[in-house]
Symmetry: C2
Subunit: 444 residues, 2 copies
């Protein structure tokens, strides 16, 4: 009988192994052939590895293969001598003694995009059409390492604050956010929907674990074709019990972001540098009431208030501008949104029930978070449903938690792709989405 | 202007704070009233907190409130004196001076389940119908802490092995696993599906990062109503390039599981104890060919081979039994599944193309993982599609990676709920699913 006992040590090295072990002696590495620059006597064969590029030097008669056998897009195993070389990507190069071809691309195929260029200078449309290969570009793939770091920081911070990670269903019978923006599907003869948010479930789980979070896809059938909207995106949700007010939620978010940026600085320094990202100052975040914020920008930027119940995208931009100019802050919490525009589970401000105990977080003039305190009392929740013409009988499962007791609680949802977009100063949320889903895009 | 500067320190303590700070002096804690046991002069008011239960002692005339005002399901803030008490859940009790009611359940509501009992002794049906409150039971909630630990270990281990976490779309245009078991939805006038697996996308991302993983929901419209099937579940997927063979994938999985169990032992000891979980021995995992495994159990347990191309659930049970009896192992890798029963992207064994370079991992007689090496060559992939009567033109986006070059690669998918189920020796996968989705269950 044969057994698997664990990972066998490979005889190939990664870039970090080489940098640790020292730049001398022989080495065996594998990777994609990223580019070949034929200089006559020698040629530079640049390998693309997960940690970066490695410059290999091919020399006629020394390297045991014909240069013309090599082709971009092949994967190879290369052996050679390590040499310090300041001008090479990692400060070293490999003078090749041998190259073994592992795999080859299709005969005669041409890359549809110049992925080995520093910036591809192609339209977003083209990049998205060829996403599977466009992502092989060094800058493109760095974007999603940063995104990984954000989610990782989100989770690690919340673990440290005694939150429990949950996994809630995406196929649901009813929808928390209401409205028509919901995808429908057939479910064995029943009508079902794709979850617009984990709202009901995360509130439910506060009754179990006090503090919970989830980082998972949500689905919105919005017919908006803008630079800010996606029909499927990743929502970073947390929900916490025993709060004294919704300020506790804002404080938790702020420290989470602080932790995320510190993690990026520590573990994703290479990508921060590569993408020229300047991390925002996180010493404090100003808070302003919704109605005051509207007034402030109307005055400062001589703008008429058209819709008193919601912020227009342009107003968000101006609020962002205002707080950047006045307080040097990339972030601003806008609080006390009108009840009219907030969902039925939002808790009204007892001092003025036209407003809710809620907030949005704007980052460089764009909403990236919506949060607030929720109603915990059964009678209050039923009353608010009734006032909105909703039928509480359709929400028996949700109301079960109010019926049997819930602590004061609240939480928030963060749009991961938007947060990444604003951090990178990108202009379109599709740039920071691995495989975006929008009105016209279902592939790749 | 007001600012948020960070989390304010609370004046309430958690159980771990109390155990660290010592069992004397006064303390303020909050929590759910889990049970009230009225003994006449005194009463035990047990609070349920996220870390466990806390015994509070109410004394008539000493505690500043009326016992009859208190009710199970309330959330409260309690103040009192700490006392060591061996018989209390955490080794201490709080002698109450004051209780403040934070929130109350609905007037006159009765708990539909005895959630404060150690074992609820109710049917699975009833537990699922009242899931939002059933999960408040101490044993029930411990199950999903263990599940959190599994996912956490999966991710942390793979980070340590230079894997990158990815987020792939769940609304897709085509489906990797084929067959009729797919949920359909309307997507702005187009036909779309819910992803049965992240297969195409994770292979694609191997071309970008070499090693990738995802822990996310997948959707199967299977009409099976069994103890092992769910229509939505969490798939733990990883995919890796530059493999020497599919043995590399099995080795990676084995070390991942070893890491997960070590993490559970370190950080989830309380839950392991509570659920009486015995972690499996992970020193080695036997591997056996599919055809040999079939033969072995047919002989040992005098069983006729009915279907030579697939393992029946009963055969999986017997294979599990065999390797437990013969080698003391809860796990067994079954390798070289017939090509006929594996998907079109599976690589055939060059020495016998009736079989594939693939494997399943059985845990206590149940398949919890399917994995294998994938085809990386464009012509080979197109040929296999054609041989199966598939039209390669429908897979242009997937084939883009083969066309422009892919390293030798492979990977696997693990059913999180099944892994949890077998670890806990549960008999039904719904027991280890927070909010299960099956043929008849779309709520809660």
């Amino acid at each position: 009988m044969e057994f698997i006992t664990g990972i066998k040590k490979k005889d190939t090295s990664e870039i970090s192994d080489i940098l640790v072990n020292g730049l001398s002696g022989t080495v065996k590495i594998n990777g994609f052939i990223h580019t070949i620059r034929d200089m006559g006597e020698v040629a530079f064969v640049v390998l693309r590895k997960r940690e970066g590029l490695v410059q290999c030097v091919y020399e006629e008669g020394v390297t045991g293969c014909q240069l013309k056998e090599l082709k971009e897009g092949m994967t190879v195993e290369a052996e050679g001598f390590l040499h310090e070389e300041e001008r090479a990507p990692q400060g070293f190069e490999v003078r090749l003694s041998k190259i073994t071809i592992l795999t080859s691309p299709k005969e005669g195929s041409m890359m549809p995009l110049p992925i080995s260029k520093w910036k591809m200078k192609t339209s977003l449309e083209t990049k998205l059409a060829y996403r599977p290969v466009a992502l092989r570009n060094i800058r493109e793939r760095a974007i999603f390492k940063i995104q990984e770091g954000i989610v990782r920081g989100f989770r690690d911070f919340l673990y440290s604050q005694s939150f429990t990670e949950i996994r809630t269903p995406k196929i649901v019978a009813g929808n928390a956010e209401g409205g028509a923006n919901v995808f429908k599907l057939e479910y064995f003869g029943s009508k079902a929907f794709l979850a617009q948010s984990p709202q009901f479930y995360k509130q439910t789980m506060v009754g179990v674990y006090d503090r919970v979070f989830e980082a998972a896809p949500v689905f919105r059938a919005e017919k908006h074709n803008t630079t800010r909207h996606l029909n499927e995106y990743t929502s970073l949700d947390f929900e916490m019990g025993y709060i004294s007010g919704f300020e506790d939620i804002m404080a938790m978010e702020m420290e989470m972001l602080r932790y995320v940026f510190a993690l990026l600085k520590e573990k994703y320094a290479k990508e921060l540098l590569l993408l020229e990202i300047k991390l925002p100052d996180m010493s404090k975040i100003p808070t302003v009431r919704f109605d005051e914020a509207k007034q402030l920008v109307a005055e400062k930027y001589s703008r008429k208030i058209k819709n008193p119940y919601d912020l227009e995208p342009e107003e968000e931009v101006l609020i962002g501008k205002y707080f950047k100019e006045e307080f040097g802050s990339d972030f601003v919490f806008v609080t006390h949104y009108p009840s009219k525009k907030r969902p039925f589970y939002a808790m009204d401000d007892p001092t003025d029930t036209k407003f809710t105990l809620s907030f949005d977080l704007l980052f460089k003039g764009m909403e990236i978070t919506t949060g607030g305190q929720r109603i915990h009392d059964y009678e209050a929740q039923v009353a608010k449903m009734m006032a909105r013409g909703m039928n509480p009988d359709e929400f028996t499962n949700f109301l079960m938690i109010h019926k049997h007791g819930m602590p004061p609680h609240g939480g928030l949802g963060i749009g991961l792709e938007r947060l990444t977009m604003k951090l990178l100063d990108e202009q379109n949320v599709r740039e920071t989405t691995l495989f975006p889903r929008d009105l016209s895009r279902l592939e790749p």
